[in-house]
């Protein structure tokens, strides 16, 4: 499988074409968008919780490439039902694995997110795949403090 095919797998292209959790977030001010300094892409997040405090949905909106859009969509899917702490741990595991700090194999235990494996070898694209997750960490962090 070529590097490109590895990157733009079927799963990724599906999430890119029909992103889960994408929503109109125009009520959130633009200053709260997270920016990718590499390309100017931005993402806004809104985290909804259920009564127990678990995440019921992470909604997102922004400009982004297939990788960053699919990653946001996969994130929305993956975090559903997690506690904020679990979501934060997941974000750190995911970012760490892609940046080569954690173990890449950890992705295998993260369901469809494993489809983003191909990004790990491409430092420039890592920023695309982790943008939504950095935004998640920031939102969760600000909630916590």
């Amino acid at each position: 499988m070529s590097e490109f095919d590895d990157l733009y797998q079927e799963v990724i292209m599906d999430h890119y074409r029909r992103p889960k959790g994408r929503a109109d977030l125009s009520h959130i001010p633009d200053e709260r968008a997270m920016e990718n300094p590499t390309c100017g892409d931005t993402i806004k997040l809104e985290i909804l919780h259920d009564e127990a405090g678990r995440i019921s949905e992470v909604r997102h909106n922004g400009h982004g490439c297939a990788i960053s859009t699919a990653s946001a969509s996969l994130m929305s899917e993956y975090t559903r039902g997690l506690t904020p702490e679990e979501a934060r741990a997941a974000a750190e595991r995911f970012i760490g694995a892609l940046r080569g700090e954690g173990k890449l194999d950890e992705l295998d235990s993260m369901g469809d997110l494993a489809a983003l494996r191909g990004v790990a070898g491409l430092p420039v694209r890592v920023k695309c795949a982790t943008l939504a997750w950095h935004a998640l960490l920031r939102e969760l962090g600000e909630k916590a403090s």
């Binding site: 990157l7 390309c39 100017g40 400009h63 990788i67």
Partner: protein
């Protein structure tokens, strides 16, 4: 901004048939061009980001470290004398290359960014006053914006931007007409790294001077593609990077008028820029060394010198003709790709082509092109104010050099069509 149809006649240099036959032998000088990427021959179309290096340059640097390497100016053994001669010889070569009146007007830096920071910091801190205006254009690279923001904030000066016409050019009459008398310096790119627009630095300088302002020209994009002459350009400062000029990374140039450089305080402090260091204060060395603190990149300067010789061997004529011919071909190939809209259609332009394409994100386009062996850039190209003006977060950019081929340009067109099929 306009679409591609508007610029069919933009590149007007006549084509010489026999120039084409040289292409293979020129390409053979660039070892990296032999690479295969994902099973395809590399088509390097990212020259505006950084240029590739000919063997002449690679071997000059290699030779320096194999046989002449030493620190300069204060090592009076044979190697030290040779390295010093290399460093000062490179300076003299750069001075001739840009038509400087004196070698002392050439300051070596790491690149365009450091050159502009030096002026913004040293000249700006010393001469900008509260309420002064720094005039930029809307097509500047961040390197010609952020240093001015930093010094403006410290000095209480403000930034004003020259707006662009629909084709991505500047209307000089509007510049004159809307002149703010508090303007102290105009900072303008010679050639836009996004639009390809070539600005008339000579006229801009005349306007600035007529109103008692200075002009800094960012020649990062023009230096690799056309003969520069600071006398003819009429500017007061000129900045460019070696790495875009077929030389190694890590070396760049600031040229400035002697009287201005003399009047400016030092930038960094350290070895070589001093005359005498006391405990509390120091006195500073003469030009150009006043602005060259610490051990410089002598190897890089040797590479830059070799690159200038390489350009001299090809001749600006060859480079100009080749790139004009390639540029025309690119315009016609890109013009046939449906859904592509080109940003920047000024009559005076270089072979840099930024475009939006069929709502596919530039990252995805670039990644797809990479699968086909084509290297282009996707992003905001360090020109976010311009991106906002164009109402896009990012563009895809193909930028050509004399070593590119017509066939590579055609591969670009075909790959864009294939990308459309893949993503849409």
């Amino acid at each position: 901004m306009g679409t591609i149809a508007m610029i069919a006649n933009a590149l007007v240099v006549p084509e010489l048939p026999d120039v084409e036959s040289n292409v293979a032998s020129v390409r053979a000088r660039f070892p990296i061009l032999a690479r295969e990427i994902n099973g395809h021959p590399l088509a390097y179309l990212d020259n505006a980001a950084t240029s590739q290096k000919p063997l002449e340059v690679i071997e000059a640097v290699d030779g320096f470290y194999r046989s002449r390497n030493a620190n300069i100016h204060r090592s009076l053994h044979t190697l030290g004398e040779e390295a010093t001669a290399d460093w000062e010889g490179a300076r003299a070569k750069v001075a001739r290359f840009i038509g400087a009146r004196r070698n002392e007007e050439v300051i070596f830096t790491r690149g365009t960014t450091e050159s502009i920071n030096l002026v913004a910091s040293s000249w700006g801190e010393a001469f900008l006053k509260e309420g002064d205006v720094i005039l930029l254009t809307m097509m500047e690279h961040h390197s010609n914006i952020v240093p001015w923001q930093l010094v403006a904030a410290r000095r209480g000066a403000s930034l004003v931007y020259i707006q662009l016409e629909a084709d991505g050019s500047i209307d000089l009459e509007k510049v004159e007409a809307s002149w703010n008398p508090r303007t102290r310096i105009v900072c303008a790119t010679h050639m836009s790294n996004v639009l390809g627009t070539i600005n008339d630095i000579r006229r801009l300088s005349e306007i600035a001077h007529a109103h008692g302002a200075l002009l800094l020209a960012d020649a990062a994009q023009s230096a690799p593609h056309m003969r520069l002459d600071v006398g003819a350009l009429g500017c007061d400062f000129l900045a460019f990077s070696g790495h875009k000029l077929y030389a190694p990374m890590g070396i760049g140039v600031l040229w400035g008028r002697e009287a201005l450089l003399e009047a400016m305080p030092p930038y960094m402090g350290g070895g070589d820029m001093i005359r005498s260091v006391g405990l509390e204060t120091s006195t500073y060395n003469d030009l150009p060394w006043k602005f060259e603190a610490g051990t410089p990149d002598v190897g890089g300067a040797v590479g830059l010198s070799a690159a200038i010789d390489f350009i001299g061997g090809l001749g600006w004529d060859y480079i100009g003709r080749r790139e004009a011919s390639l540029g025309r071909r690119a315009l016609s190939v890109l013009g046939e790709v449906r859904g592509l809209s080109l940003h920047g259609t000024a009559r005076d332009r270089g072979a840099v082509f930024s475009f939006s394409f069929a709502d596919i994100h530039p990252h995805d386009i670039a990644q797809f092109l990479d699968r086909e062996g084509l290297a282009v850039r996707a992003g905001h190209h360090c020109a976010q104010p311009l991106m906002r003006l164009l109402k896009v977060p990012a563009t895809t950019r193909a930028s050509l050099a004399f070593w590119n081929t017509e066939e590579e340009v055609e591969r670009l067109g075909a790959a864009l069509e294939a990308a459309k099929r893949f993503y849409l």
